[in-house]
């Protein structure tokens, strides 16, 4: 559907020449429009990674017309940065909805200064940090300073358990912590929405009135305390107002509801037959009433089923398209201000993780 102006290996040019070349490229397309709602800075690994990103960003840019600056520092020992115009994407109607530039070569510490003159004026700047932990990457601070929002993906960065805790703590310690958001959060939005919908049904209302057990299910081979499960748990705990009590085992927690009733959550890994999936389901129980809700993901489907004792009260199946990093990015770019619900959920998840296990 979309075409890039410069497929293959486009010529490299100085930063100064980039804007002029872009104008010229747009001029060659009859009826082209230059529309942008934000600047998107992305850390790219190497040339191939940048080319792949330029292609794969299309669905994101369809919803969020943007100027994209892909940054790959360190390709030359000198401080000089060069630009390649990877694309001014063309729509069938003849419009241009994205301008993608690849800045490469200079020192990571100079990435902010290199990007600055190429930002479209007056538009918000979002940084999507990827590929390496910000703690080890010298370019992070330079780019984060330019950004109104910093997006990072703990799943892509491979941060689980204690690594996830350290990463989250680091991002919360940034000068403007409320601007940093983990893309694992939008990955869980569909789960959150399903839970919210289920809570509104007559059976759901009965369940929620006495909810006292929640099981978070990772796929076998994945850490039970993975980022996705932790964020969902943090969200539920913070929304329900449950208070932390004890941690009898590494993956089991005793809590207390606002009515001072006992409640428990447990993280476990089960064989789900979907090795690529990190998180695949959860079970909520009102144990005294024998009522439970099971949510299980199966590929691109999700099934929600209420049970009373051992009898099914009916299952509902819907589409559940995978929320990969790009889909999560597209969703997150809708928001241009701090997200208090995320912060509360993340804080609750961190408190869980930091609770000492009882001897």
């Amino acid at each position: 559907m979309a075409a890039t102006l410069n497929p293959g290996q486009p010529p490299s040019m100085s930063l100064e020449a980039a804007e002029r070349a872009l104008l010229e490229a747009v001029r060659r397309q009859p009826g082209a429009q230059r529309i942008a709602s934000l600047n998107l800075l992305i850390r790219a690994g190497d040339d191939a990674d940048a080319q792949r990103l330029a292609r794969e960003l299309e669905p994101v840019l369809a919803a969020h017309p943007a100027r994209v600056l892909l940054l790959t520092p360190g390709l030359s020992p000198a401080r000089e940065w060069r630009v390649r115009l990877l694309g001014a994407m063309e729509r069938p109607a003849g419009g241009v909805h994205a301008e993608i530039l690849h800045l490469r070569g200079g020192l990571a510490e100079d990435a902010g200064a290199a990007a600055m003159p190429l930002l479209r004026s007056g538009l918000p700047v979002c940084l999507w940090w990827r590929g390496a932990s910000p703690a080890q990457a010298p370019g992070f601070a330079a780019l984060a300073q330019l950004a109104d929002r910093v997006l990072y993906d703990s799943v892509e960065l491979g941060a689980q358990g204690d690594d996830w805790r350290a990463l989250s703590r680091q991002m919360r310690a940034q000068p403007h912590p409320s601007t940093a958001i983990d893309l694992v959060w939008p990955r869980m939005t569909r789960w959150r929405r399903l839970l919210a919908q289920a809570a509104e049904t007559p059976t759901g209302l009965r369940l929620w009135a006495g909810l006292d057990r929640i099981h978070f299910q990772a796929c076998a081979g994945q850490p039970p305390l993975n980022a996705a499960a932790l964020m969902l748990a943090g969200w539920l705990i913070s929304r329900l107002g449950w208070q932390l009590g004890r941690r009898p085992a590494a993956e089991r927690f005793q809590l207390r509801t606002p009515r001072h009733d006992e409640a428990a959550i447990e993280f476990r890994a089960l064989d789900c037959g979907q090795p690529e999936t990190i998180f695949y389901g959860l079970r909520l129980e009102h144990s005294r009433a024998g009522l439970r809700l099971e949510l299980e993901r199966n590929g691109s489907r999700i099934q929600a089923e209420f049970w009373e004792h051992q009898a099914s009260l009916g299952a509902s199946v819907g589409a559940f398209p995978p929320t990969d990093a790009l889909a999560a990015l597209a969703q997150e770019l809708q928001l241009c201000h701090p997200d208090q619900v995320f912060e509360e959920a993340q804080a609750a998840a961190l408190r869980l993780l930091e609770q000492p296990v009882e001897p």
């Binding site: 909805h97 569909r190 929304r239 819907g318």
Partner: protein, 524 residues
Amino acid sequence: MTTTLTPPGAAGAPAALSESLRAGMRLERTAPPCILVIFGASGDLTRRKLMPALYSLMRAQRLAPSFAVVGVSSTEWRREQFVEEMRAAVRDLAGLRVEEDCWQSFARNLRYLSGDFDDRGVYEQLKQELAGLAPACGFNLIFYLATPPSLFPVIAGHLGQAELNRPLPGAPPEAWARIIIEKPFGRDLASARQLNQTIHQVFEEEQIYRIDHYLGKETVRNILVFRFANGIFEPIWNRRYVDHVQITVAESLGVEQRGRYYEEAGALRDMIQNHLLQVLAIVAMEAPARFESEPVRDEKMKLLQSVCALGQGETAMAKAVRGQYGPGIILGQPVPGYREEPDVSPASTRETFAALKLTIENWRWAGVPFYLRSGKRLPKRASEVAIVFKSPPYLMFGAEARIEPNTLVIRIQPDEGIALRFEAKVPGTDVRLRPVDMDFHYGSSFGEPQPEAYETLLLDAMLGESMLFARYDFVETAWSLTTPLLEAWEAQPAANFPNYAAGTWGPAEADEFLAREGRAWRRP
């Protein structure tokens, strides 16, 4: 964005729990649990629009998992037949891919009742069915009248007698019952009033959702955003800067299989009385106090009340033009004239084109004419609003410079977007001017598909958001504006029909109508 959490365990209020869980959610809106009852469940509207919209919403999890549909129709089907017919409609008529597991999940809560709409027993049976479903599916009820308008009073009356105009016994206090009706809402002022009175005997106005699917279109809603979320347009949106406004809804299709209906309706009733007057109100109204249903509908109503009456008889006719298409060429293909269409009288005097001039008597618009036109078998399908601005007070570029007025065009369909036409200097040593368009296309600026109007409107009705639905007073005022012209035209049938060839922009009288005022129709 976020709300203060009221832990449900402490407050025990379902609404607080729901609000808390939904806080900060990025995805689209979702409907609360409810049961939708469709009267006319075997009809065309249900097959082509309602069921595909519901399936799409269900598949995307925008309906509650417990959502249920009860179809009611005089067609003698068993439940299994109903389910199969609806499945075929979703697949064949709407062209949607039916995914087996999603369909089974959706079909699980499809129910069907066959019977005569005037049979009291049908409503008792319906009540029992609903009472059986409610404990699992929720107590909220929506009745969709996808039937001929003559049945609206009949069905509403029986619903009242069966006490289905209120939540079922045992329902929680926040439960609701609503009714959705399709246009036409009457065929003149008297019948519209009668219909409103009849329905009001059973349902309160806030329970009634009158669908005008035109208002569900994304671009119509965007007019509100365009006008009131931008600071630069509102200051020039008035008589001081605007010369006139043209609202056009052009269709290239003829009456197709709707000849019988169209013989009764005509262009003025079918399009202008409802769709075009709704668009006029949105384009010309004052800023509402809040972006909520009642403030927006209040402002639309105030605007319509400011529209100057057309007068009676010849006075009304002088402010309008009517036409009927004869044979012609559309998109390179010969097409028959209106009188040769199925179910149309060979001597029909029903108008297939109508244009009229309205003026608005308020401080903002006094003296600014609004020209409305709609017709069938015009050269292309196009709906747009054109705001034509006044020319500069002094032209300093010489006598040879011909300056076109600035025009802001809001395209409603197809190719939804907004274009601003202004003068620019042609590059060169001479000063030569040329009008250019600065053109914004939704399709190329935002690559996301626009939702179907029925999906938007069904969801709105379930969520209790009535902004895009017509209120009784708007309907009656719209009829009071158009009824005198309808009566005048019916009293003096046109002698020159057909007076435009299919594939042209309407009768010559329409061009002369504007030329007399020194203006011309825009070609969409």
